[in-house]
Point group: C2
Chain length 240, copies 2
């Protein structure tokens, strides 16, 4: 998300190559990914770097993804529950094994992700650090998360099953599906006067936090949209 | 060990600050630790960076240390058994809790550590990576190891005991004690003709590998030295 340092972008491209991550997506980078400093740090991740795709918004970057986890270094993270990397890894890795399109989101070097951006994710991971200076460099956060996923991948490959037994939902909704649905619901709730312009964002954030924790499925989103459509029809039906 | 990149040195200083590591020791750095690139990457690790001490050899750098673990990215690592970070962490963290002076050794960016240098350590850790491009950037390797130790530290702090129950030996020998002892033994074995000049290094490496795996204690080194002294006396006694 909006990386400002070409050294970081290059380093992350190298890490993608180190961990067989095929795709690097940059949201509105504040630096040139083809900068010589980025190329220098990418080393054998140069193909990942040159193939990196650029998106204008986080939502567009993860639009096709079904499992989305964000890294959060900040203390103030709203109501979203935080997980440790070792808690996150079995969930992400199992999803990857089942073929779910998975995104790992990392925030800006200087101010991480906003609470609204965090809500694009279903899970938020907070890395272990000391207390005095907890702010890790961006690429080091990426290194730690990818290492933990690789550890879990090997563990699952060895045991034939994930180290955590909770079943993943069948078909996760994509970020786009969920966002479209929530916008639709928000419009309805504004229309019916449940939401006011100045309270809409905060209230919808709570709704989003809830369904993200629940790992909403595609079929549930469809159900929800059906409800909204019907309610809208009902709300409009008797208007003069 | 002989870092060549000021960006790496600065990044590692920042990681030291992130993880409350008080001391950064550089062995014959191939770059200037006060280079502007190093300072730029250190951010709030600037004090660690400016206080970093420089040593002419690995052995001198770890001379006062009792627990020594090295990171090894290379495939060819001699006979030394490799551990994963999660296997290493309980051992290191328990030693730190017991007040043992602990060193984490990281090799050169381009060629890691030699087998002889690896033998300075009692444990060798190999990080998880993908198979195609397993070579992590130096500072990313440091990030992964320090994160794992911090995870273990929290785990032990919570449970009041390490997650692995094997007891640490009482008083570990320091690297200097062990090295002095082995040199003394080597001299004796050359003197008595057990070793020849061209086989000494390889054979002593095997001895060192053995005692390192055993986590030799200070008192055992003393015992060993007593033996060597006595054998030398015996060997010289009847010479013409």
């Amino acid at each position: 998300m909006e990386p400002a340092g070409p050294l970081n972008v290059g380093s992350v491209a190298r890490l993608c190559a180190n961990y067989d991550i095929k795709e690097l997506r940059l949201v509105s980078p504040r630096c040139d990914p083809s900068d010589s400093e980025a190329v220098r740090m990418a080393v054998h991740g140069d193909a990942v770097l040159s193939d990196a795709t650029i998106f204008p918004s986080l939502l567009e970057a993860v639009a096709d993804c079904q499992l989305i986890a964000a890294s959060c270094g900040r203390i103030d993270h709203g109501d979203m529950p935080l997980q440790s990397p070792e808690e996150l890894a079995p969930w992400v890795q199992r999803g990857r094994t089942q073929g779910l399109r998975t995104a790992l989101v990392f925030g800006r070097e200087d101010r991480g992700l906003s609470n609204e951006e965090l809500l694009v994710s279903q899970r938020i991971v907070q890395l272990h650090t000391g207390d005095l200076y907890p702010s890790l460099n961006l690429s080091h956060a990426v290194a730690v998360v990818l290492h933990e996923l690789e550890r879990e991948r090997r563990l699952q490959a060895k045991s034939g099953s994930p180290s955590q037994s909770a079943p993943l939902s069948e078909i996760q909704a994509s970020a786009t599906e969920l966002d479209d649905c929530l916008r639709d619901a928000e419009a309805l709730l504004l229309e019916v006067g449940f939401l006011l312009e100045h309270t809409a964002r905060a209230r919808m954030a709570k709704v989003k936090g809830l369904v993200q924790r629940a790992l909403i499925r595609s079929e549930e989103v469809a159900l929800f949209r059906g409800m909204v459509r019907q309610l809208r029809w009902a709300a409009r039906r008797n208007r003069p």
